[in-house]
């Protein structure tokens, strides 16, 4: 009987996807539904009441939220600018036959991704400390520049944040592009060479278009990762508060309201708005790129 059940052609596929389905429902669908419900509630220990749109009203008058939104957005845009072209370039370089010891460079570039961000963040924080004895201030001091208060100003604060992001993610994105490059047939380059194409033309006409699926994937996850950034800022500023909220992110604000201030209703509203923003941007982006519902190439 049981055997028959498992060998049933109709049931088997569902059995295969069941583990995924359960995890998806318990850890994604349920929390998401719960977030939507809670965003209309005032959630306090032992008592929960419906407050209608009050949380949203608060949100749209909340300067700190908009500051956080701006920060997350700026961070996302800047990471896209830095973390797509450069890793692509590095991947092409490593993939090139002229490259010496490609394995060494691959490993070295990937190392930061497996380093604990807590450790790295702490080291960056100390290196960019505002005292004159910190590593970076000693370096700029060699050029006769006064000690910089790195982590206390918007510009320099973001610079450090982006530096950590580049340090950490360049290798990962490079790996994505490398695997994309490996799937481009060698013959295409050969025939292009025969037709007299130079390296740049080959890159523009062959590599770029054929890397498009990889690029779209990297773009999509980078948009999400940029908007959802939390840990780097949390560690660099040794907690969730930076002076003038210079690097407070949406998720940081969600954490502040929900966990630190125990206001889960309001935090759910923040989370919901983040979800809507990230979804909208990605849907538009995928649509433009033709991955979703657009014309198939």
């Amino acid at each position: 009987m049981i055997k028959k059940f498992f060998y049933n052609q109709k049931v088997a596929p569902y059995m295969f996807i069941l583990p995924f389905l359960i995890i998806f429902c318990v850890f994604f669908i349920y929390p998401m539904a719960s977030t939507i419900v809670m965003s209309f509630q005032d959630v306090k220990p032992g008592m929960t009441e419906w407050v209608g749109l009050a949380n949203f009203q608060r949100l749209f008058g909340d300067k700190v939220f908009f500051k956080a939104l701006g920060n997350s957005f700026l961070y996302m845009v800047l990471t896209l600018v830095l973390l797509i072209p450069f890793p692509m370039m590095f991947a092409c370089m490593i993939n090139s036959k002229l490259m010496k010891a490609p394995g060494l460079f691959k490993s070295l570039m990937y190392l930061p991704a497996i380093t604990s961000v807590v450790v790295a963040g702490t080291i960056f924080r100390l290196a960019f400390s505002e005292t004159e004895y910190s590593l970076m201030n000693q370096i700029v001091g060699m050029f006769g520049i006064e000690p910089v208060r790195w982590l206390r100003q918007q510009g320099t604060g973001f610079f450090v944040l982006l530096l950590v992001a580049c340090w950490r993610w360049t290798g990962v994105n490079m790996m994505y592009f490398l695997s994309g490059l490996k799937s481009i047939p060698e013959e295409l380059y050969e025939s292009a060479s025969i037709d007299g194409a130079n390296g740049w033309q080959k890159f523009i006409k062959i590599t770029m278009p054929l890397l498009k699926p990889t690029t779209i994937y990297v773009l999509t996850i980078s948009i999400y990762a940029g908007l959802a950034m939390f840990t780097e800022s949390f560690i660099l500023w040794n907690g969730n508060s930076s002076p003038n909220n210079i690097t407070l992110t949406i998720v940081g604000y969600l954490y502040r309201q929900g966990i630190e201030k125990n206001d889960l209703g309001y935090a759910s509203t923040v989370g919901l708005v983040l979800l809507i923003i990230a979804m909208t941007i990605n849907l538009i982006q995928l649509r433009i790129n033709g991955t979703l519902g657009g014309e198939e190439d």
């Binding site: 008592m47 700190v64 394995g103 003038n244 630190e260 201030k261 125990n262």
Partner: protein, 467 residues
Amino acid sequence: MRLRKLLSGLIAATILLSAFAGCNSGTPSSSDTGDTDSETSVSTPADDTSEEDGAEEGTTAADATPLELWTFQEVHRSFYETMAEKWNEANPDKAIDLTVSVQPFDDMHNKLTIALQSGEGAPDMCDVEINRFPTYLEGEPQFMDLTSYVDPYRDDIVAARLEVYSKDGVNYGIPTHVGATVAFYDTSILNEAGVDYKEIKTWDDYKEAGLKVVEATGKAMGAAETDRTFIYQAMLAAQDADMTDENGDPALDSEASIKALSTIQELVEAGVDQTIPGGSVDAEEGYGAINAGGYATIISPLWYMSRYPAYMESIEAGRIGIAPIPVFDEADYGVSYGGGGTGTVVTVQSENPELAGEWLCWAKLSEEGNRDIWNVLGFDPCNISLWEDEELTTDESNQFISFFIDNPFDVLNTIKDDIRTIKSTYAVPTIDDIMTNVVLPDIIENGVPAEEAAVAAQEQAVNELGL
């Protein structure tokens, strides 16, 4: 081939290292948790051994009731363990088997929030920092009513300190110290400028002395902190004002608040107070700057005493003087306020709330417990009758009594009659956030006029709290 082997070895080593380092970051680090308002104190390596001791001692009493306590302060553990031992000796019939778990500041509070919110996983007892306390009192407090356990000790304890951890007349948290705010003066800097700290009574005196110090030594008279609000609060308390109104709602744009912020800004603009690395005198970078002799005055609750021997090796005994804080009106000199603090609670999830409540109140409120709060922790005990107990106050073997020019208790006794309170209401966590993240950086570093900053802060607080 060899290269590949080497590389994979290297990667494996990195993974291992970072994994261990990750663990490490989970262990308590007392001062670098970003918490500036707690009465964090010295943590010595010797404390690390006490965990084992505690465990062993716990198992000796076979029918001891197990109790779990969370704290974010390493030194609190030794205090609690000492008190558990003494309790078990005196009350073998009600012995407890105390497990103290020390966790990083934010982690511990956030874990407690989640445990209380979800109704599972909270300890029997927990230390809660004063600025975090009101968040837990929202809705139905998930803490036990400790009023009846406090009653036997109530007359000896500073009432205001019990009040800050109460709601609707019910005591939920047991205080650790008074936290009377005082001024610490570095005489090696002041003498160079010919300033006598005993003459500084008002903020005008302070500014005048500061100008002399800056001119003569090039050093700062005081630290303009962006990360702590003690000076702002002390200035409010001295004007008999508060950060919140009688309903507990924010009152950041009050006249008194604007006056306090303007004074802070004035001192910065005159060059008397200067920014401090780390934004706080109670952070690693700040200790370094003070240790290097860069700041003549530190205004802080009395528990800051312990930072000198612990973190500032270059500052020798007999160099730092303690005095009441400067005030606006000379007639008010001697006014102080209780700053910072930790309220220890019994959670509703405790299986033995009666025993936990009884032990906790005995440990932290009894005369015996208060002696150890001074001896072990170096905090000004809430039982102020002890402030005049000569056995305690003249004990030269105590490191704090011998370290400072002035006996800490002499200073405490001069301000004793007027130690005011800044209320701890539901709005305080939000206010604290706005003050340290926006207002103080704005007026100290960005030159935003104090009044404008105060009005904007009030607006933000009102909106954020959904008023």
